[in-house]
């Protein structure tokens, strides 16, 4: 709808860019065969999928969830527990459990959403954190999760040189899936209703939007790719522990990635995760100090809040389209792939201080 004629050419350009990006992602592990690099790439892809999925719920509805690690951990534990209980042998066929783990995360999301979505704003954020810690506590204390000793997951005996590649391509598949969900949801009836809820939930209800159903559907849907990512994570690491599968840092990372790239946009969380997760992994390898990235994250978080309150993608595309408009004196085109529609009211500062949504 917000298309002006000049963008038609831009659309082809975008399709071309998308195809090129896809091609680069597909050949990446064939060109960069160093296992350290492909290992970083796997983690990065898992976070790209998770941040995109988080954005499907929190970015579109304005309800900030800090409990999505619940879905990540559920996926990871489902994978590990099933593999252990049924004595499944390692191999490509174990990837069949990945969608199952995603569905398990959705099953958890239903009661979670029914409870948490009765509340709004700060209360919602706090409830999601509380539910998350309940799950972490369960993982520490239940017999089936083997408490703090964690669970070993069978490791495939693939060649060390190409060991990471199957994980890479499965993770890439999850990223494509999550992005497709985000893209098509954005254009759907439900997507429009979610955006209306973000703007003014009560007004939306007065126009016949079934806000409860819409929010729960988005919440459950966003759990799916996160649960799948958790399963791949468990398989890739070969062992899981409660404090890493259910990690509060997961939520902070995902939120920071989405904010950094541009909350509510389709490309923003992808870019944010691509930059932040690969950097973090790189630093971890480089300085062999696993906690250094926390300091960097903290600094970056403040920098984003102060300098790029709308995220990289909206700021940059706005700048470009304004420059283009100045040159051609045509009205600046708005583009739903990179713009959160109109002027955002939901800046990170507003979210953090509770003034939005």
């Amino acid at each position: 709808m917000r298309r002006v004629p000049s963008v038609v050419g831009g659309r082809n350009l975008k399709a071309g860019g998308l195809a090129a990006a896809m091609a680069v992602l597909i050949v990446f592990p064939l060109v960069f065969t160093n296992p350290t690099v492909t290992s970083i790439a796997v983690f990065t892809l898992l976070f790209m999928a998770s941040a995109t999925a988080w954005n499907v719920f929190s970015g579109y509805t304005g309800y900030v969830s800090l409990g999505h690690a619940t879905f990540f951990g559920t996926g990871a534990y489902l994978f590990a527990i099933v593999a252990m209980r049924f004595n499944l042998s390692a191999g490509s066929s174990l990837f069949a459990l990945v969608p199952v783990a995603g569905v398990a995360a959705m099953v958890v999301a239903v009661p979670f959403g029914l409870v948490a979505l009765r509340t709004r704003r700060h209360t919602f954020v706090v409830i999601t954190i509380a539910v998350f810690f309940i799950f972490q506590m369960l993982a520490f204390n239940l017999g089936i999760t083997q408490g703090s000793s964690g669970i070993q997951v069978p490791t495939p005996n693939w060649s060390p040189w190409t060991f990471n590649n199957p994980f890479y391509y499965v993770s890439l598949g999850i990223v494509v899936f999550a992005t497709a969900v985000s893209y098509f949801l954005r254009r759907s009836v439900l997507g429009l209703q979610l955006l209306a809820i973000r703007e003014d939930e009560d007004r939306a209800r007065g126009l016949g939007v079934p806000a409860g159903k819409a929010k729960l559907t988005a919440f459950v849907l966003s759990a799916l790719p996160v649960g799948m990512a958790g399963a791949v994570y468990a398989y890739f690491l070969g062992q899981i522990f409660p404090q890493f599968a259910f990690s509060p840092l997961f939520d902070l990372s995902v939120v920071l990635m989405a904010l950094f790239g541009g909350i509510g946009t389709i490309a923003g969380p992808l870019l944010g995760a691509l930059l932040l997760e690969s950097l973090q992994q790189y630093f971890t390898f480089q300085f062999s100090n696993g906690d250094l990235y926390l300091v960097i994250y903290g600094g970056l978080f403040l920098a984003v809040l102060l300098l790029l309150p709308r995220g990289v993608i909206p700021t940059v595309t706005d700048y470009l389209s304004r420059r283009r408009a100045r040159r051609s004196s045509a009205p600046a085109a708005r583009d739903s792939l990179t713009q959160p529609i109109g002027e955002p009211r939901t800046s990170p500062i507003a979210i953090v201080t509770g003034k939005a949504p």
Binding site: R2, V189, Q193, L195, G206, V209, G342
Partner: protein, 270 residues
């Protein structure tokens, strides 16, 4: 005249304040009814109760004889009651067209429609037609946040119409908009009324209310004080005492035009 909306003995308390205190009101089908009264007399609260934004423990609301008390706002809207707010509430970051489309999604089962593309060809055409009707179609692709206050009022009016409500509640439609726009608005309301839609209008602009409405109900202290045609209400000493004060004398009575005899559903003070 059949009664389309009926409220009986509706009471609503906020702490110790009786916002509604046994309020009774009837609205006849096919009329434009006015609801006036001093600030704090319970007009907006009554709107909130009718449209499901406030729940009540006492009293009953009926639409076409069917009880709708304490239904959710979305259910009330689907039954054909559209409502605008005193302070306009449009979806600022959505385009004007998307604002319209949000309201168009009331029909068919939600689960079956949720994953389809938003805005079918027919829905967009209808939205544009309604935007033409209120004269803001040229702004269809602008974010609603860029609209002026008056334009937002018109947008709110238009998107409520997307669902073809048979009954519209307008909360101060003329508040804060310029005089020429007020006349346009009155014309639009009359035109829709001719199509058979019923209106209940809360408004402080007496000229607007007296010129437009077939029937006026006055609220005071959370209950209806008097109800009747504009002329009767305007001359009623109780109304003058309670509220109108000096207004009234210097105003021309335009008389209600439009189709249908002015309904005379009179609900007396309780």
């Amino acid at each position: 005249m059949t009664v389309i909306l009926e409220a009986r003995g509706v009471s609503k308390r906020f702490g110790g304040i009786h916002a509604l205190d046994g309020c009774d009101i009837e609205v006849a089908q096919g009329t434009i009814s006015g609801l006036i009264g001093p600030n704090g007399s319970g007009k907006t609260t009554l709107f909130n109760v009718i449209t499901g934004y406030e729940r009540v423990r006492e009293g009953e609301i009926r639409l076409d004889g069917r009880a709708i008390t304490n239904m959710t706002p979305e259910a009330v809207f689907r039954l054909g009651i559209g409502r605008t707010f005193q302070l306009t509430r449009v979806f600022g970051r959505l385009s004007v067209m998307d604002n319209m489309l949000v309201a168009s999604q009331h029909d068919a089962s939600w689960a079956r429609r949720a994953f389809r593309k938003a805005g079918s060809h027919g829905e967009r055409a209808k939205a544009l037609e309604l935007l033409e009707f209120v004269d803001i179609a040229r702004l269809a692709n602008e974010p609603a946040a860029t609209l002026s206050y008056g334009q937002r009022k018109l947008l709110e009016f238009a998107y409520v119409l997307m669902a073809d409500p048979e009954f519209l509640l307008l909360d101060e439609p003329a508040g804060g908009i310029n005089p020429s726009l007020i006349n346009t608005l009155a014309e639009r309301i009359r035109a829709l009324n001719k199509e058979g839609r019923t209106f209940l209008v809360v408004e402080h602009n007496m000229e607007f209310v007296m010129g437009l409405c077939h029937n006026v109900t006055v609220m005071h202290h959370g209950r209806t004080l008097v109800s009747g045609d504009p002329e009767t209400v305007r001359r009623d000493p109780r109304v003058l005492d309670a509220y109108l004060g000096g207004v009234g004398e210097d105003e021309e009575a335009d008389g209600a035009d439009g189709a249908g005899a002015p309904g005379a559903p009179v609900s007396d003070e309780s």
